[in-house]
Chain length 428, copies 2
Amino acid sequence: MVREVTAECLCIGDELLIGQTINSNAAWMGQELGLEGIRPVLARVVGDSEERIMEALATVQADIVLITGGLGPTKDDITKHTLCKFFHTELVRNAEVEERVVGLWTRMGRGADQVKDADRTQAMLPAGCTVLPNLLGTASGMWFEKDGRVYVSMPGVPYEMQGLMRHEVLPRLRARFQPPVIIHRTVNTTGMGETMLAERLEHWENDLGGRGIHLAYLPSPGQVKLRLSKYAGEDRKKAEAVIAEEAEKLYGLIPELIFSEGGQQLEDVVGQGLKELGQTLALAESCTGGYLSHLVTSVPGSSAYYIGGVVSYANAVKMEELGIPSDMLELNGAVSGPVAERMAEGVKKALKSDWAIATTGIAGPGGGTPEKPVGTVWIAVAGPDGVKASKGVFMGTRDLVIRRAAVAALNMLRRRIQKVPAIGKADK
Amino acid sequence: MVREVTAECLCIGDELLIGQTINSNAAWMGQELGLEGIRPVLARVVGDSEERIMEALATVQADIVLITGGLGPTKDDITKHTLCKFFHTELVRNAEVEERVVGLWTRMGRGADQVKDADRTQAMLPAGCTVLPNLLGTASGMWFEKDGRVYVSMPGVPYEMQGLMRHEVLPRLRARFQPPVIIHRTVNTTGMGETMLAERLEHWENDLGGRGIHLAYLPSPGQVKLRLSKYAGEDRKKAEAVIAEEAEKLYGLIPELIFSEGGQQLEDVVGQGLKELGQTLALAESCTGGYLSHLVTSVPGSSAYYIGGVVSYANAVKMEELGIPSDMLELNGAVSGPVAERMAEGVKKALKSDWAIATTGIAGPGGGTPEKPVGTVWIAVAGPDGVKASKGVFMGTRDLVIRRAAVAALNMLRRRIQKVPAIGKADK
């Protein structure tokens, strides 16, 4: 058996301990380590205290320690000094880092002479460590080795840490430890909750263990990712083939729920579909309040197919901008299928797009009625082949209702674009 | 000086280590402990492994250990057995708990004879521990004492753990340790990065230690929270007065940067300001793509002041919906002050609002030029007192540029509503 490579996450920061910030870094790192075949065995959080950090460093047992936090330029950031103490070294000025930090500020419109001392301290780094360039901030990553163990220190700001992990740390860990290769395949689904999905996949899932495949359900609002993992062993090609075979069975079982694989988001799939068709999109949002538009425009290059949208929070906007007759609002109420359809048609016509999505509903916490409880959302999609609305009732807080409704709306458009049968059709 | 009472959180579960679940329990417990004056000094996550759990229990240094997870009835839940091993005791049937677990199932519509063996195992609890009744589930809480330390084991399901903490654990900890009270006050700022802020506050910060106050900088995109903490000691009122005095100095130093305290977000402040004035808001977004509208509508009850908005991604939308002359777009380019101002005025007029914000910029990663690099965003605010645009250059990924620009835009509106002097005015 291949020797297991183990890792520990050591997150530094009073704000994590006192619960002002939830430690999402440890979870993110744990997931990435798992994908590399490295086993996370411990995650620790300690405060901004030299004594606590020293103690934690001295009691590490894993092959790898990923340290985050405490690298800012302010007084309560003491990780760098503590690392110097632990590794019996001292801070020295790194000209390259200084130049980059100064450059960062200069690009923001300040002269080099205006760059503050505090930022120059970001160029002071422990002698003897390998400096890992952080392209998204002023705190560099640091790589130490001691007694066969690797210690990596990174900033606690999630996107800076993630950038360093992707571009510097993970490739280096791979080269340094050559962990056993794990083959992963992640199939992204929407339209069915985790529990029902697990029930539907029960028989298929029961057989996976015998083939050396581990299945993980990774739920997020409105979606469930299914990750198949298998140790590659000696024969990578064979392992990939086994995974491919099971993935194909999965596609046969829930064809109408799968929208992509890997990191491709629903908004990416919709964007790609529109690009391929050479068609455009417009949005009319009420209860989703701009979140749907935010999702669509989170895709780089979305201006190629997204024309724009209207957020109609007041009924007056619905009437004037989208041409909804006031008697329709009175007759059906703003949260209704006819209004959603007219909103979609109205914005499609006004912005001269090929497709349009409209949402109208009750995100809560107030505004619900027994007939239309909080979470009730009407979604309409208008396209070259006509307009159709459908109702969903989404659970959870205001934020969750908005997120789930936006995912459902994008998925309705995706199915229309891809001409996928409606949910349940493939279910015998 | 009062003796500090310390606590450690020990969270058990493979799903936490591999990042399938983010560990929100530790943050929640840390927050509650802090409010009780108990200092969280360490949070650990270990997997479902007897060896790892034993090792963690054996190395506890704090006065209190709050253990979560691993109390379910399935095979991979081993916490109870491991606790028996650690405390040299054994599982015994607890008739009271058995009755409650059976009662729970019965209320769910099953007969007592149908209650599964697996659930009856939930009534098997370590001899010698104090059983803490869990009214929300089948896994009881357990309270152990050994060598002056308290060990509490609770289920990992957040609401069950929270119920046990509130009704059983925290009152018992209070009675057992009579911890010192800590006073916290968090002041929220925007408009200046952590580094410059620290420099500006340097003299004030240097004096805080002497007054027994700890200051923490808590940055997030576009914002920095400043948290002041102090032990109340014998005289809670006096400690609160000391904190209040320093907070007042802080307000004097950076009046134009502070927008709220505690959990009140920028969008809450803006909403409250508009409500008080009885005025309304409309938005015209280009580069922020709906995110600004999403922030505004994330506030429950925002329909009282938010009329709606336009997301103008294509130039045609800018021209038609917002009445931007095409020669203005050609002359200045879409990313310019005049266009931002016309967008704001256009949407204000079209939606008949008192205030309007417009954004136009380059969120990236493509589309930048040497003159207008990625991150360049023009923001305009139109109001009863006229329209004014200003330019920002925001760093980071597409997502960060969008988030930072949205925060800056909300803050521009806040300053206009509150008639706060522009940034820098209060500087010296």
